[in-house]
């Protein structure tokens, strides 16, 4: 990835229609976005379509990016996640999933791109670690692997409303923990 200030500058240039800046933004961020999309959809051709959609959206929405609302990569990642979830929900029958939840929480301690990133990741890891295991697993499988409430209910053999209640309780606790430390 690249310096945050550089990314902010590139997005501003993309908003003005600068295709060279767009190419640089793509080169700096596409492997990360492709990685997170693949982790959700587990199908390369579909992930490629989603990556394409995501960058078209980054191009058209660049003018709406507000630097004080979050880091550039977080903004782009949110776009990619939303496109991935839209694709998954459009064709739920084609869904490919891993049988078992696969350690995204543990990987959160991996070195991040920036000092601030490391700090944020550490705090999130700490706060997720304070949740009970089932709630944490459901949050991670939803966020990292794109499971819907329905899919979590099927996978874990609980009514969807029960899952949603757990998740809301977990998310509320997560918010208190994150906002206190952040």
């Amino acid at each position: 990835m690249f310096e945050q200030s550089e990314a902010v500058r590139l997005i501003a240039a993309v908003a003005r229609g600068d295709t060279t800046a767009f190419d640089r933004l793509y080169q700096a961020s596409a492997p990360k976005l492709f990685g997170l999309i693949l982790r959700m959809v587990r199908d390369r051709p579909m992930a490629e379509d989603i990556l394409q959609d995501s960058f078209v959206r980054i191009w058209t929405r660049a003018a709406t990016y507000a630097p004080d609302a979050g880091e550039p990569l977080a903004w782009m990642a949110a776009i990619a996640r939303n496109r991935a979830i839209d694709h998954l929900r459009a064709k739920p029958s084609l869904r490919k999933v891993e049988e078992e939840y696969d350690g995204w929480f543990e990987n959160l301690a991996e070195p991040q791109d920036r000092e601030r990133g490391i700090l944020d990741a550490e705090i999130l890891r700490h706060c997720l670690g304070a949740l009970d295991e089932m709630t944490r697993t459901c949050i991670l499988r939803a966020y990292c692997e794109g499971f819907s409430g329905r899919e979590l209910a099927d996978r874990y053999g609980r009514p969807e409303n029960t899952i949603k209640t757990w998740l809301r309780r977990g998310l509320a606790a997560l918010k208190v923990c994150l906002d206190k430390d952040g």
């Binding site: 990835m1 767009f22 492997p31 990360k32 492709f34 078209v56 409430g149």
Partner: protein, 225 residues
């Protein structure tokens, strides 16, 4: 912000809804700036999880595919005009041969840099803004690539392999990353102003397939020295 709206924003960011629920919520966000802010806050809070995904290299032609599908509405007048002009010249070139082709080369130079400028290019190969793991220096005149490891970390029982990626082409192996500096021949037909280097983790001895198989841990673009 009521707790209920905040929790609904969290549900949405987590992705719990089905297609209809998502579409309805997305419409609600468009109308409601407070809800939109709550969604943005949840996206920010959870983003380290998104960024924790391991990098994966998209296919080499991906950028070209994306560029071809960009709507022109967001473009500046200059870019739109230039792109239209190039398209027109391309048509003329196809129809009337060499003279028009020369015109394309001249007029479309900003987009199609056919001529390879001589010179020296360098890339600092790193993991997102961290200190360089490798320095790669490309000397066009001498036809050599000099690879100098600085702080590349090889995972136990694996090899690090260096790849040269020409714009729009498949990655080409430049060999394994060793402990000392190495001078390698420059791959033919390189266009250094569009090229990048990446380092992947491979089985001991390098990729068994001839293309990258492991995660990219370092990468960098070539820049003119």
């Amino acid at each position: 912000m009521s707790d209920d709206r905040d929790m609904r924003a969290a549900d949405y960011v987590l992705g719990l809804h089905d297609a209809a629920g998502r579409a309805a919520f997305a419409r609600e966000i468009e109308r409601d700036p407070t809800l939109r802010a709550a969604v943005a806050e949840w996206e920010r809070r959870l983003s380290p999880l998104a960024i924790s995904a391991p990098d994966e290299l998209p296919p080499p032609d991906m950028l070209a595919r994306i560029r071809a599908s960009l709507p022109v509405a967001g473009e500046s007048g200059e870019v739109v005009a230039l792109r239209r002009a190039v398209r027109r010249w391309r048509g003329i070139a196809a129809a009337s041969g060499a003279i028009a082709a020369a015109l394309v080369l001249f007029a479309g130079e900003r987009i199609w840099r056919e001529a390879q400028p001589p010179g020296v290019y360098v890339a600092a190969i790193n993991r997102g803004g961290a200190a360089p793991a490798l320095i790669v220096r490309v000397d066009i005149g001498a036809g050599r690539v000099i690879v100098r490891p600085v702080a590349a970390e090889t995972p136990a029982g694996k090899s690090l392999e260096l790849w040269y990626i020409d714009d729009g082409a498949a990655p080409r192996s430049m060999g394994l990353v060793g402990a000392g500096a190495e001078s390698l021949p420059l791959p033919g037909g390189t266009r250094p102003e569009k090229a990048k280097f990446a380092v992947t983790v491979e089985p001991p001895g390098g990729s068994p397939t001839g293309g990258p198989t492991g995660p990219v841990i370092y990468s960098g673009d070539l820049i003119r020295e």
